[in-house]
Every structure is written in C-alpha cells, then in structure tokens.
C-alpha cells in the first residue's frame, strides 16, 4: 500500500477521460500539479484507464483511488478507498490513495456530522462497479464471448469454464474504448472481498517511519514560521505593543500587528525563535467587555434561562428532579491548528490540515482577494479534528501573513493558543423532572436545558408525552462543533435521569430501559451490551455497573464496570461498547471510532473541562486539560452487531453520547452517589456532596450501598431538641424501620442504624429533629 500526496505527479493519459470535470477545472488540475506538464509532454507515457474521477488503473496494475474527504483520524482515506476497490474487484495491495483538492469537479468535501461514509457510499460503490463492468466488457470483446461468461477477482478478468485471463492492467487500453455504463451492476454483500474486513489504515506505513505529512510538516523553499501573541480575554485586543526586545531575539524577523489578525504576529526563521520572540514582546492589552465573566456567572445565567420547569402529573406516586451541569470543552487536537500559505501576486497555494477544504479555499480567497480559481488547496493529513477543523481561521491567518510579507509561511497556534482560542463544545445546564406511578411506570418526563445548540435530543424510549425544551442565554464564549455536538450533553442528562427513574421505581436499570424500547435494532444493541457485561453477575465489594444507550448516528449501548476504593479512588474496570452501524466498511475503523469516542467521553467526564476566569480561558494545555492515558483505562471492548442493512450509518460520533452516562451510572451503582456535574475530577468522591433531598443540615451514610448495619453522621443547621427520629421508607412511602438517636449541643449526630431484612434497592432515610428534616437516599445491596 502506498499513498500519494497531492504533490505526487499524476499522469493524465490522452486516452483517459474524466467525467463531471469542467474544461477549466481540468486545466487547473494539470497546471497546478508540479511536474505534470513535463510528463504530459512525453507522448505515449502510459495508457491509464480512468473512467471517472475516483479511480485510475495503470498498465502495471496500480490502482489509484481518489479520496475527496479529509482524513482527520476517522479513517476515510482507508474506508472510502475500500468501497471503490471492492466494487472494482481489484487487489487491495495495488491500491494507492490520492487526496483530492477542491475544484476539479470535487464537491462537498467537508467532513462532519459522521457523514463521510454514509454520504459517499453510493457514489463510490458505483464508481468502483463501473471499473469492473468495463473490464469485463473489454475482456469479453477481446475473447469474443458473452460478458456473462466472464468473472473477476483481484484485478483479473477470467473466462468462466475456461483458462483465459487478462489483468486489468492489460485491459486499460481496450477498456478505455468501452462506453461508460450508466448503471453498472454492483456486488451483493456475499461477494465483498474488502468491505467488512479488518484493514490497517492506508497511511500506517508512512506514520510509523515518520514520513507521513501533516500540516505542520509541510516545508516550502524559503518558508518562514509565524505564531501569534493573542489577547488573554475573549473579545480583548492589543492596546500598545513594544517589539524592541522581541526583535533582538536571533531569528525573529517581524513582530507587529497584521490587518485582519487578532493580537500580534511574530515571524521568524524557526518556531523556537518565534516562541522566544513572543515571550520578549511587551503588550498592553485592552481586556474588553467580558472581564466580569466567569464559569459561575455563566452557570447562573443558564439557571435563570431555564427557570421553572413544568411539573409532572400531580397524581404521580413518585416525583423526582435532577439538575445536570456540563462544562465547555476544548477540542485539543494533538496537532494544533496550523496552515502553510504561499501567496503570490495573483495566485496562492495553501497546505491545510482541515475538515473543510472548500471553507479553506473561500477563507484564503477572502483574505487575499485572489480568485478561488487561482488558489490551490492541498489537503494534508490532520492530527485530529473532532469538529475543530471545520473552522478555517488558521488558513485566513496564514494567507494574510504570507501576503503581507511576500513569502511562504507556516502559521501555527502554540498549544496554549490552541486551547484558548477554540470554538468550544457549549456548556449546558439541564433540569429534569420525572414521575412514576405506583407500578413504576413513567408518568411524566420534562427536560429543559440550555443551550439549544446543534444536535437534537433523540431519546429512543417510548414515553408518553415527554417534553424537551431548550432555553437560550447570553455567553461570549465562542462555540463550535465538537464530536457528537448537542448529543454529548443532552443524552448525558437523558441517560443519567432514566437511570435515576429506574432506581426510584425500584427497577433494574437495564430492564427498565428495555421495557421502554420497541423491538428492533436499539433494543438488540442494549441486550447485547447487558449480555456482554454479564449484567446479573455478582460484583466484588466496591464495584458498580452502569448501562446507557442511544440512537444518535448509529445504535449504540455502553455497559461499564467500575470500582471505587475506600479512599475514593475510581478505576474503570471494564468497558463494553456495542454498535449497530448497518453495513460495516472497515472493522478496524468501527472499532477505532468506538474506542476513541468512549475515551473522549470518559476524559471529559472525569478530568477535562474548560473554565472561564476573568473573561478568559483558564486552561493552558494537557497539564490542566487532562486527557486519559493508557494506565487510566482497561481494554475498550467493541462488539459490532451483524446487520442485514445494505447501507452504513455514521460512526465518527456515535460512540460518545452513551459512554459518559454509563460511566456515571456505574459510579452511582458502586457508591450511591449521583454524578450530576462534570468533570468529576480525580478526588471526585470527596467533592461530590451527599445528595440531601431536603437539606436542613448535612448527612453522610457509611458505607453506602449498605447491607445490614451502617452509620449515619451529620449536623442539623438548627437543632431545637437533643434527640432525633430516624426513619427508613421504601420508594412507595412505607416505613420499614424507625428509631431514635441523640444530638449534641452543636446539632451534630453520629449513630449506627440497623437495616431490617428487605429487598435490594433504593430507600429513603429521613432524620427529623423537631421541625428540621434531612433526607437522603440509601442503597441496599
């Protein structure tokens, strides 16, 4: 397997023909490729067969497949090429992948919404099938036999019941003379030889020897390096800049403001000089209008925006309410945002790790005033994306700096700049109200949350009249697409709250969900997750198990086991991910996306969150925006449901939404503590307060879950008597235990309590001193 960059000379044969490519696009494609014109000058160089803009076959059998979507780690350079190669029936080992540039007939190149495979699948199936059909036609004609007497395999046409064979390479000339079929026969699934297999990503050989080229690896003769000194606040700007010391740093060329770019540009011979120059700059900042904004202010605004939430029906036997709060999240791609630009007087070439090639093209056109037709965008490999590279400001900055100084420039954000100048996953605040009847059936489900950003709220459950409303509030924090967008927050609240309802109903959280799901794909996936985790297995002391599911993009369920030590140290013991994504293209890719999304979910649940402080972003890098590491995680198990579907569903984002609620539900199962605010942080158990439902004081239960004996301790805010009543009730309000205990002069109490024989599940424990009441949940296990 080899890969081609856009700079690899592409030989265009006079015999080849391209469909759907305009004359001007064709001219640009040729002239923009270094060396191509030279090669074209030689007559009879090759007789490549190129029936469409997706695939080309050379006489030596090399198959060049064009991928028109950027690969940001989601594996499309592999999966999209697999689709074409399988339908064409070529030898995968002879496939080279070429990355397309915008223009030249390619469109809709952006990647997002988990739509690359789903959106390209039909087109690429047909593109590949065209090759196979034309090769069969060419061989049949040459042999003078019916096409139905020909068969293909691994890039070879064979005569059925005969011995004659012709390779696709041998047929390039004659196949080029065949009329392109409008509706070539596509393979049935049983005949797939590449799709549905486990294929190593096509760029792996280059990656493991250090030759794969990302944006930051592009080197153009005469290129200089540029970084920015950016305002410390959102909406801030430069008031004064003194660059005298910066310009004394060896290698610093310029340090000044450039039109259309925030902050100060530092241009240097190398990145290190640029960084040293930035440190030597003396800048007075205009901090702007947001210095009074911090995370607490924004949370209050969100709470105000949500306001009151409608009550569930008054005749509900049990009513519960919960509030969830999730933070802003940065994308923190491993490769910071960057772009190389070489802007000339009337043309430009850029190299961009981006999710939006066409967006980069228009950003560069807008920044330079150069017509799009005269701009070449080379799409490089990208060190992660997760939505961040759908924005294109990095390309605009690179182009402006290159134009300003008349030389090729590599512009990059430093890690801290990247962290602080993102379009973040929006923070959110959710109020959920739910009701249950005496049999544990849901009587009401009201969810109100902020913000009403991207992503709907696709609950898979059959619930009578659920209400989901969103409320908007004002925040200066820039937001953008972040893997699974609004699903990452809305489904967290949904899947945690359905768990709270299940426990309140005294039902098993898996069975409770299952009873709300119609027969079909989602329920099968949930069943498989429960089966794989061995849902009814007796867990060791201190362990807990959680489950969650969702129908966002594909059908996914997560089942997770955790343990929590007496010291409060959480360990993720086992992670089961189950997915039904319809037709599977690359098993390796599906597994990778499920594993990666789960680790994203766990990282943002446990550690990583953005905080706003004095109008700026507090975090600086991976030291304070921590991602989970290998020693934090067990093997992430992925189980892919076999599917009869003939089409694939999206995989890039599907693995995120149900992973974090499954984790938090497992933590609850282990500890009795509901996680309603993320991130939890390392010392989570000491930071999460005991959920006092009526808090005229504080109470702690140890251990919780309980068995027979446990201890309660706490303090009344106002104690007017030396004695209190202890009462344990089940969720239907029936008292199962009653006792009394003493309170000291400070209102404090600490006493053992006996739990009478009773079923496992949730109970309410209430202590009352005169008119002061404290209530908490206890779990019997």
């Amino acid at each position: 397997m080899e890969t081609l960059t856009e700079n690899t000379p592409v030989v265009v044969s006079r015999r080849s023909f391209l469909l759907g490519m305009s004359a001007t696009g064709f001219a640009l494609a040729c002239t923009a490729i270094p060396g191509a014109s030279t090669l074209l000058a030689f007559p009879e160089v090759t007789a490549s067969f190129e029936p469409n803009m997706w695939v080309k076959i050379d006489p030596d059998g090399t198959v060049t497949i064009t991928v028109a979507k950027p690969d940001i780690g989601q594996g499309v350079r592999t999966s999209l090429a697999m689709i074409v190669a399988d339908e064409a029936d070529v030898d995968w080992n002879k496939v080279k992948v070429r990355q397309a540039s915008p223009g030249a007939g390619y469109s809709n190149m952006g990647v997002g919404g988990s739509g690359s495979v789903t959106g390209s699948h039909n087109t690429l199936r047909k593109a590949g099938a065209t090759v196979r059909a034309m090769m069969i036609s060419a061989a049949a004609k040459q042999w003078g036999i019916a096409e139905s007497n020909c068969t293909t395999s691994n890039g070879v046409v064979s005569e059925k019941n005969g011995t004659r064979t012709l390779t696709y390479g041998e047929l390039t000339d004659s196949a080029a003379a065949i009329t392109v079929p409008s509706n070539p026969t596509q393979k049935v699934k049983a005949n797939f030889t590449i799709m549905g297999k486990r294929i190593s990503p096509v760029d792996t050989p280059d990656i493991v020897r250090g030759t794969a080229k990302y944006g930051l690896d592009v080197r153009v003769p005469g290129m200089k390096y540029a970084i920015l000194a950016l305002p410390p606040t959102i909406g801030g700007g430069v008031q004064t800049v003194d660059a005298s010391e910066a310009l004394k740093v060896k290698g610093v060329i310029k340090a000044e403001r450039v039109s259309g770019i925030p902050g100060v540009v530092i241009l240097a011979d190398n990145s290190y000089a640029a960084i040293k120059g930035k440190e030597a700059l003396k800048i007075t900042w205009n901090l702007g209008n947001n210095t009074a904004i911090d995370s607490a202010v924004l949370l209050e605004r969100m709470k105000t925006a949500v306001g009151t939430v409608a009550d569930v029906p008054a005749n509900s036997a049990i009513k519960i309410q919960a509030e969830y709060h999730l933070p802003y999240i940065a994308h923190a791609t491993m490769e910071p945002m960057n772009c190389v630009a070489d802007v000339k007087a009337s043309s430009a070439e850029v190299w961009a790790p981006t999710q939006s090639p066409e967006g980069v093209l228009s950003a560069v056109a807008s920044a330079t005033g150069i017509a799009s037709a005269n701009i070449k965008v080379n799409v490089t490999l990208a060190g992660g994306g997760f939505g961040r590279r759908s924005n294109t400001e990095y390309a605009s900055y690179a182009a402006r700096i290159s134009k300003q100084y008349g030389l090729p420039v590599l512009f990059m954000y430093t890690r801290t700049d990247d962290m602080r100048n993102d379009g973040y996953r929006p923070a959110s605040y959710h109020v959920m109200k739910g009701g249950l009847d005496a049999s544990g059936n849901i009587t009401g489900w009201n969810h109100k949350y902020t913000p009403g950003s991207m992503g709907s709220n696709p609950s898979p459950y059959v619930i009578t009249s659920p209400s989901t409303t969103s409320a908007n509030y004002s925040s200066p924090v820039p937001t953008g697409a972040w893997r699974s967008v609004g699903h990452s927050t809305a489904i967290f609240a949904n899947e945690c709250f359905i768990d709270e309802l299940a426990v309140a109903a005294g039902k098993d959280p898996y069975q409770f969900r299952r009873n709300l799901l119609p027969a079909g794909r989602m329920r099968d996936v949930l069943d498989e997750a429960a089966n794989r985790i061995n849902w009814t297995r007796q867990l060791p002391k201190g362990w807990g198990r959680g489950i969650a599911c969702t129908n966002a993009y594909s059908s996914v369920a997560h089942a997770i086991e955790v343990s929590v030590s007496d010291a409060g140290v959480l360990k993720i013991e086992r992670v089961v991910c189950v997915v039904d994504c319809g037709l599977v293209i690359n098993i390796n890719g599906v597994e990778a996306q499920m594993q990666g999304a789960a680790i994203d979910a766990f990282s943002t649940a446990l550690k990583a969150g953005i905080t706003i402080d004095k109008g700026g972003i507090k975090q600086t890098g991976f030291a304070d925006f921590e991602w989970l590491r290998m020693n934090d995680l067990p093997k992430i198990e992925v189980y892919i449901m076999s599917s009869t579907s003939s089409s694939p569903s999206g995989m890039g984002e599907a693995g995120f939404p149900s992973a974090s609620p499954a984790l938090c539900n497992a933590i609850f199962n282990a500890t009795g503590k509901r996680i309603r605010t993320l991130p939890i942080q390392k010392t989570f158990l000491t930071e999460v307060e005991t959920p006092a439902l009526k808090d005229e004081g504080t109470i702690a239960v140890h251990p919780n879950p309980i068995s027979e004996m446990f201890t309660i301790s706490g303090r009344f805010d106002r104690a007017t008597a030396p004695e209190m009543e202890i009462r344990i009730t089940n969720l239907l309000g029936n008292t199962i235990h009653q006792a009394t205990a003493g309170i000291n002069a400070n209102g404090e109490f600490s006493t053992p309590v006996y739990m009478p024989p009773s079923a496992d599940g949730v109970y309410m424990l209430t202590v009352r001193c005169a008119n002061a009441t404290i209530t908490t949940k206890i779990i019997k296990q």
Binding site: G73, R198, T204, V208, G210, Y214, L381, A592, R629, M630
Partner: protein, 149 residues
C-alpha cells in the same frame, strides 16, 4: 554551531545551545517525524531516544546532547522492518496518527529495557504519551506483538 549524533550521523546545527531538540529536528534539519504536541513535556508526541532511553525532545536543549546518541522515528528503520513498526502496521494502530511516532519511541525505550513487558509494565512506560484519538487498546496489543516477535 552544535554537533549532534542523530540516527548514527553527526549533524552540525547552526542554532543556539538552548534550542530544544524538537525544533532543531523539525525546523533546522527538516526531520519532521518528531511531532510538536505541547512544547511542555505533557503529551509525549515528541518522544525520541537519547542514549536508548526515552526523552521529550521539546524539553531537551541541543546543548545538552553533545555526547549523546539520539534516535528519532526516522532512525528506527526506513523500511518498516523494526518489530514495532511491523506490529503497528499489522494491528492497524493509528487513527489520526499524529502521536504515534512518540508512542513508538516510548515503546522502543520500553522494549530495550524490558523485552517482555506485562500489561502493567506497558501502562507504566506509556502513561507519558497522550493519544487524543484513543488508540491505547491497539497500542498495548502492538507492543505485546512486537515483544514476542
């Protein structure tokens, strides 16, 4: 001018002593296999071998390396014959691939010191390397595969 032995070849670098090896490799020698991830020693994307032990190139001034042997990803092998490279290809480890050079160099240091690591040994050695795409399950499998191959 600083002289460094990189991948067995002595290279003369016209840069100040305090320039981190990362930038000398990438911007002076155009050896871009070693990646910039954070510049603070937090992520491990720039990991190289210095005298057969793993080191963060972003935290290692070139002036400190005059008597050292530096091996980068490009020095592991150019034909992908190193057991770790083979294992990475067989398992299909990478997603975006950007951190993988650093991951492989940390794994190389581990296997030099401990040719048959356990899961716990691997976790301990690899915990300095972040993979933002979450390829840890594959990395662990590939290291095991390389250690028996």
């Amino acid at each position: 001018m600083v002289s460094l032995k990189i991948n067995g070849v002595v290279r003369n670098i016209d840069a100040p002593d305090d320039m981190p090896l990362l930038w000398a490799l990438r911007d002076v020698l155009n050896m871009t296999g070693t990646k910039y991830g954070c510049g603070a020693g937090d992520c491990g994307a720039c990991t190289v071998l210095v005298n057969n032990d793993s080191a963060r190139a972003c935290q290692t001034p070139i002036g400190s390396l005059t008597d050292a042997e530096v091996i980068t990803i490009e020095g592991l092998s150019t034909d992908n014959s190193h057991p770790l490279q083979k294992a990475w290809i067989e398992v299909g480890v990478p997603q975006c691939g950007y951190c993988q050079a650093g991951q492989i160099m940390s794994a190389a240091a581990l296997l030099i010191a401990n040719p048959k690591p356990t899961d716990a040994d691997i976790d301990e050695a690899m915990r300095h390397n972040i993979c933002r795409c979450g390829t840890y399950t594959n990395i662990r499998e590939a290291i095991h595969r390389a250690s028996v191959g």
